[in-house]
């Protein structure tokens, strides 16, 4: 029989990149493992939400569940979209794999949520620990003034101060900021050892890193610490300004394992110009979860959930393990520096250190 999976993601609009990456990753997975999961044929149905649109997400989920009778849902880049479907998946007992949305508390919205990506706390707290251990004792945080940014600020501060470090200033930058100079100047004025930044991808990240560089912060010995800022799909656009930025994240396309190389190659072979980043790997591992669930339980939601709640497997990002409590994967967090790769001439996130298997540290916050 056929098991249907509805993927709700962005295939149009400013975030269309995500949908494209999910799809490519799913197809790469299917290419490697075939359409069969156990006795079942897996079929994916893609739906476009176009951005953070909870009402559209809910409508699409309803359509998928009622008309297409899907057995699993997947996708979800933005938190509100995921939250909007919580009541539906509760009622229909549909396991739903989140490929990206990174707010810890989503999984509290329904027991049917599983997350194959990461949470903000998961990558931020280890970064703070590591920074302290590197001898960075004073930090200024500069985050975009919206939910995820503030979560990141809190996570960093909690972890850093627990270690004994000091956050000497916490700047919240309005989301609509285009010129970051004032904030960068403010950071500079306080001469911390490092600045911890959190910005939404795209233009803000571009603007912030540019300004960080142009105003000579690196030269003044103020290090840049971040998380997703140097992710691969925008990395080349940042240009030389990105070199030397330090980030902690769960995935780097330059991860050294064979599985990672293979994943990259599959993607690149199948789709010209495809770039692997954390969204691709989130979808790739999410697809793995769905396959495992389908294999074990077909279309029986609760049983499927049971089957994978402590699943362990090796992913292109490293070893993964489902946490039965938080339903978010436990994974390695890597400390990376941006470098220009000698062979390809491209910028890469070079892994410099590993913080082994971290769970969702934000769950109990």
């Amino acid at each position: 029989d056929t098991i249907k999976v509805g993927v709700i993601a962005e295939f149009s609009g400013p975030f269309a990149m995500y949908g494209k990456q999910y799809r490519e990753a799913i197809e790469a997975y299917v290419a490697k493992h075939g359409k069969q999961a156990g006795d079942h044929t897996i079929e994916f149905i893609y739906k476009d939400v176009g951005g953070s649109n909870p009402d559209v997400a809910k409508t699409l989920a309803q359509e998928l569940l009622i008309r297409e009778e899907v057995d699993y849902l997947a996708g979800f880049t933005f938190t509100p979209n995921a939250l909007a479907v919580a009541p539906l998946i509760d009622q229909s007992e549909t396991p739903t794999v989140i490929f990206n949305a990174a707010t810890s508390s989503i999984n509290k919205g329904s027991p049917y949520f599983l997350r194959s990506s990461y949470t903000l706390w998961q990558v931020t707290a280890p970064l703070a620990d590591w920074a302290y251990d590197q001898g960075l004792k004073t930090v200024v945080t500069a985050v975009s003034d919206y939910g995820p940014g503030i979560d990141a600020e809190k996570a960093f501060k909690a972890a850093f101060e627990k270690k004994g470090g000091k956050v000497i200033d916490a700047i919240r930058m309005p989301v609509a900021t285009t010129d970051f100079t004032p904030f960068i100047q403010r950071v500079r004025g306080q001469s911390p050892n490092a600045v911890f930044a959190f910005l939404p991808g795209g233009p803000p990240t571009f603007g912030f890193t540019k300004t960080y560089n142009e105003n000579g912060l690196a030269a003044a010995g103020i290090r840049f610490l971040g998380t997703a800022e140097t992710e691969e799909s925008n990395l080349q656009a940042l240009g030389d300004a990105a070199i030397g930025l330090t980030t902690a994240f769960h995935y780097s396309a330059a991860h050294g394992s064979n599985l990672a190389r293979e994943f990259n190659e599959t993607l690149r072979d199948r789709f010209s110009g495809a770039i692997a980043n954390w969204a691709s790997v989130g979808a790739y591992d999410g697809t793995h979860l769905i396959y495992e669930m389908a294999k074990a339980a077909g279309s029986d939601g609760p049983k499927a959930l049971e089957a994978v709640k402590a699943l362990k497997w090796e992913s292109p990002r490293g070893p993964l393990e489902m946490d039965p409590e938080t339903r978010t994967v436990r994974q390695n967090v890597y400390i990376r520096d941006v470098e220009r790769d000698k062979d390809s001439g491209l910028l890469v996130n070079r892994e410099k250190g590993v913080i082994a298997t971290v769970g969702d540290l934000g769950w109990s916050q």
Binding site: G13, P14, F15, A16, M17, D145, I171, R172, M173, P174, V175, A176, T177, T178, D179, T181, P182, F183, Q185, R186, G202, P203, F206, G207, K210, E214, N215, G216, S233, N234, Q236, A237, L238, G239, D240, G273
Partner: protein, 286 residues
């Protein structure tokens, strides 16, 4: 004291970038009175071409930028002949609709061809450096924008607010039929002005890309920003846009320095207050 100096320096530098990216709109919307929401689309095309020329075709910055602008002007000319010539005569709401429709199509084409991620336009080495002002550093690139901004405002002031061409253009905008009946070639006047606006959009898009990076959704993302500058400046006045851009640049920078937390709210509240007191904008003609 250094704080005030910082605000002044950064505010003016930012204001000048605001001016450069919105002056084209001030020409098409302010002078020609077309609600031209496609302004950003021309900036986007300029930026996308510059991106393709530098990164894909390997041209140098100094060759790529003028080439991109020239191409945008040519495209604008074609666009004017095919579409805008008819758009001028429509009602305001229809103009909104038509130019948004056009913008959608440009976005769709750019994202089809170049994807929806950032389209970087790498600066040449010299422009990436910074100069030391003594109390702080200023990126050289911003200095260039300031100088170009001054050049543009001077040229436009002379060409439009002080010249016969300007008077003929304003006459044509006030009443096309009558202007035409009095011997003004309104079609040509409009076409020339429109191309000027589009060329300035492209120039502003490329130069402003260091702060407002180009990507396919650029025209929608920054539409409000362009509109704010033009409306605060006042329709029909290039010097108004200039004054507004600098004022807004300083205002925004000051709010970022001084009242980070409620900066956005205060910024818009001040813009509202300003427009409430001066509904025609800083230098607008009522």
């Amino acid at each position: 004291m250094p704080l005030l100096l910082n605000i002044a320096v950064d505010g003016i530098a930012y204001g000048m970038i605001l001016f450069m990216i919105s002056v084209g709109l001030s020409v098409t919307m302010g002078l020609m009175r077309v609600i031209n929401l496609a302004h950003g689309a021309f900036a986007l095309i300029g930026g996308a071409l510059a991106h393709a020329f530098t990164l894909k075709a390997g041209l140098g910055y100094l060759a790529a930028v003028p080439l991109a602008i020239v191409l945008v002007v040519l495209m604008a000319l074609a666009c004017e002949r095919l579409l805008f010539r008819r758009i001028y005569r429509l009602g305001e709401l229809q103009q909104v609709l038509a130019t948004i429709g056009l913008t959608f199509m440009v976005i769709a084409v750019v994202s089809r061809l170049l994807g929806s991620s950032l389209l970087a336009i790498p600066l040449p080495g010299i422009l990436q450096q910074s100069i030391d002002l003594g109390f702080r550093v200023l990126p050289l690139h911003r200095l260039l924008v300031i100088l170009l901004g001054v050049a543009v405002i001077t040229a436009l002031y002379l060409a439009i607010e002080r010249s016969r061409f300007g008077a003929r253009l304003r006459a044509a905008v006030d009443n096309r039929n009558i202007a035409s009946a009095l011997g003004i070639n309104t079609d040509a006047t409009y076409a020339a002005t429109f191309c000027l606006g589009a060329g300035l959009a492209a120039l502003g898009g490329i130069l402003g890309a260091e702060l407002l990076p180009i990507d396919a959704y650029y025209p929608l993302r920054y539409m409000v920003l362009f509109l704010i500058v033009v409306s605060v400046g006042g329709l029909g006045s290039i010097s108004g846009s200039f004054a507004a851009a600098i004022a807004l640049g300083i205002l925004e920078t000051a709010s970022r320095y001084l009242i980070t937390d409620v900066g956005t709210i205060v910024f818009f509240a001040i813009v509202m207050a300003l427009l409430a007191v001066r509904p025609a904008g800083l230098l607008g003609k009522a």
